[in-house]
């Protein structure tokens, strides 16, 4: 089906802000202790997309990040590797080579990340380039320019085009909504619903490039959209909050939220990811604290 057919009869679902806030307060008050905490920390680490998306990225910086992705902290026992390394398309090859032999994936941001201000033709070329370089996953941005004008059909059309390119190459697709630029929770829900029509592998909150990144409200709304979509179509879609999640405690709250909204099937790095760079070290610090009983200091952990 094309975008027009998919969108016929589309009705926006309103979001109950008070309900969202109330549910988050309850989720945050869950107590996670010792054994569950250890398990949770390890799970969080295995779900991280270790990210570097700077103009100043160099091949060596990416290699260093890849090493960290495979060996987060060798001194600690039983530490999993992270899920993926997330880089710009030009650095995919470097990352792919550096990660050879490990099961850490390479994700490439694409479609003129972070603004998405280009033609569809260019976006597809860039995506094709990233795939040719060896990317396992593509993180695309939706066109906020068109979304904010109400041109939802075009937004969906773009996602469908990128999706079919990814499917043809057996590459997983994450769709970034950049929730900080699209407005209220109602709009977030609308954007989620539109993106979900294309059956991407993940929907993702943010680029991490603007002030307002992932928060629990936005994530809850998107998780709920995923659940409703799953109920309707039976298609499982993953979730990736990105940016702004820098401490282990918050990350554990997110896991609680995923478990309560979507259930156990989503609790693996196949269906849930954290887009983060600082989070990994905080998780490692907490893991070291759990093992030794001694509170840690950041200077004993590698910078990434």
């Amino acid at each position: 089906m094309n975008a027009e057919q998919l969108l016929s009869g589309f009705k926006p679902t309103p979001v109950d802000l008070m309900g969202v806030n109330d549910r988050i307060i309850r989720i945050k008050s869950r107590s996670i202790k010792t054994h569950a905490k250890n398990q949770g920390l390890s799970m969080v680490l295995s779900m991280i997309d270790l990210t570097t998306l700077e103009g100043a990225d160099t091949p060596n910086k990416v290699r260093q990040l890849c090493y960290k992705a495979m060996h987060p902290q060798d001194q600690l026992k039983g530490v999993p590797s992270v899920a993926a390394v997330c880089v710009y398309p030009t650095l995919v090859k470097t990352a792919k080579d550096a990660l050879k032999g490990s099961d850490v994936k390479v994700a490439a941001v694409s479609t003129y990340f972070p603004s998405g201000q280009s033609t569809l033709e260019n976006k597809l070329l860039e995506t094709q380039f990233a795939i040719d370089e060896g990317a396992d996953e593509i993180d695309m941005v939706i066109s906020r320019r068109e979304f904010l004008q109400g041109n939802y059909e075009y937004v969906l059309y773009e996602i469908l085009e990128v999706k079919s390119l990814c499917s043809a190459n057996n590459v997983r697709l994450k769709v970034i909504l950049e929730t900080g630029e699209i407005g209220s929770l109602d709009e977030v829900r609308k954007a989620s619903d539109i993106a979900l029509l294309a059956h991407p592998d993940f929907i993702k909150t943010s680029t991490g490039k603007i002030g307002q990144a992932a928060n629990m409200q936005v994530t809850l709304v998107m998780l709920q959209a995923i659940w409703d979509h799953y109920q309707k179509t039976g298609v499982q879609v993953g979730m990736k909050p990105a940016g702004g999640i820098s401490d282990a405690k918050t990350a554990l709250h997110y896991l609680v939220m995923v478990k309560e909204v979507l259930g156990q099937e989503w609790l693996s790095n196949k269906w849930f990811r954290f887009g983060a760079s600082r989070l990994a070290n905080d998780v490692l610090m907490q893991m070291a604290k759990q093992e030794s009983g001694i509170y840690q200091a950041p200077q004993y952990f590698s910078k990434d």
């Binding site: 009983g293 001694i294 509170y295 840690q296 200091a297 950041p298």
Partner: protein, 287 residues
């Protein structure tokens, strides 16, 4: 019907805010007759950990300030305490100090803050050195703060004792997490209100209440604490699992009753650096 008096539950002071202890534990403070007059937070290791996080956040800004600016801030603390001296005298009086003795303690606390305020921009000039060398180099030794200092304040004197521990530590550009007197902590937390209303950046001073024997092992083992000051002689260094990171374990039990610039130096480390001498002839230019 007789009125039932309400006993205030004092909170703790972490990162410029007054949270309750996360542990939810409290203990009563009694006056000289043994009657309860207030409730205090029994801080846990997690409260201490939160204070360390706040201190680390604040440390960069505090050490980056000019010494002159730090001096002004300490003086501001003294000013704020002076304006509230009446309520401090009252509070100490409730716990059994005579009016006269209470007034003496408050005045001495104010004077002590002024004393260390004066030292802020002078101790480096006085105690740093240019060392003799055998080559054509300058060799300097200068003092730098160790970083985050965990401190056990004296038990008997809840205001003057606390001030005497905090002031030399922060005068030297450190951040401090002080454990107040256990049995007389009321005026220690009131002092935290003075701190909050002065210009001290949030996190530079945190004040906890509770048991030293419970908290000290965690102060000693925390990897992000750089010095440990014990003004009570509460536990021997050997009993504590002091991590490598805690560079100094300082017993101030017999030291804090006096004001002393060497207390500032206790929480400093000496950095020595070489610099080649550039002679007039070599540079080809006169001074």
């Amino acid at each position: 019907m007789t009125r039932l008096k309400i006993h205030k539950t004092y909170k703790i002071f972490i990162g410029g805010k007054f949270p309750r202890t996360e542990s939810g534990r409290y203990y009563p403070i009694n006056n000289a007759k043994g009657e309860p007059v207030a409730n205090m937070c029994q801080s846990s290791k997690k409260d201490f950990k939160n204070a360390v996080v706040a201190a680390r956040k604040a440390q960069g800004g505090w050490v980056g300030m000019t010494a002159y600016n730090r001096s002004q801030i300490l003086y501001r603390l003294a000013e704020m305490l002076e304006t509230r001296s009446a309520s401090f005298i009252e509070e100490l009086n409730v716990l059994g100090l005579s009016k006269k003795a209470a007034e003496k303690e408050v005045n001495a606390s104010i004077d002590r803050l002024v004393y260390y305020a004066g030292w802020c921009d002078k101790y480096t000039a006085l105690f740093s050195s240019v060392n003799p060398t055998a080559t054509s180099h300058f060799n300097f030794s200068v003092h730098e703060p160790t970083g985050i200092v965990a401190a056990i304040a004296p038990e008997k004197s809840s205001l003057l004792g606390l001030v005497s521990v905090i002031a030399p530590v922060i005068a030297g550009g450190n951040s401090v997490i002080a454990l107040a007197s256990e049995t007389k902590a009321t005026s220690s937390i009131s002092f935290a209100e003075v701190v909050q209303n002065s210009d001290v950046p949030a996190g530079v001073i945190s004040i906890l209440t509770g048991s030293a024997s419970e908290l000290m092992p965690h102060m000693a083992s925390h990897m992000d604490v750089n010095s440990l000051v014990d003004a009570r002689g509460e536990m021997k260094a050997a009993e504590l699992n002091i991590t490598n990171n805690v560079k100094r374990y300082l017993n101030w039990a017999n030291k804090v009753s006096n004001q002393d610039p060497y207390l500032i130096l206790d929480c400093q480390e000496v950095k020595t650096t070489w610099h080649p001498v550039q002679t007039n002839a070599a540079s080809g230019a006169g001074y």
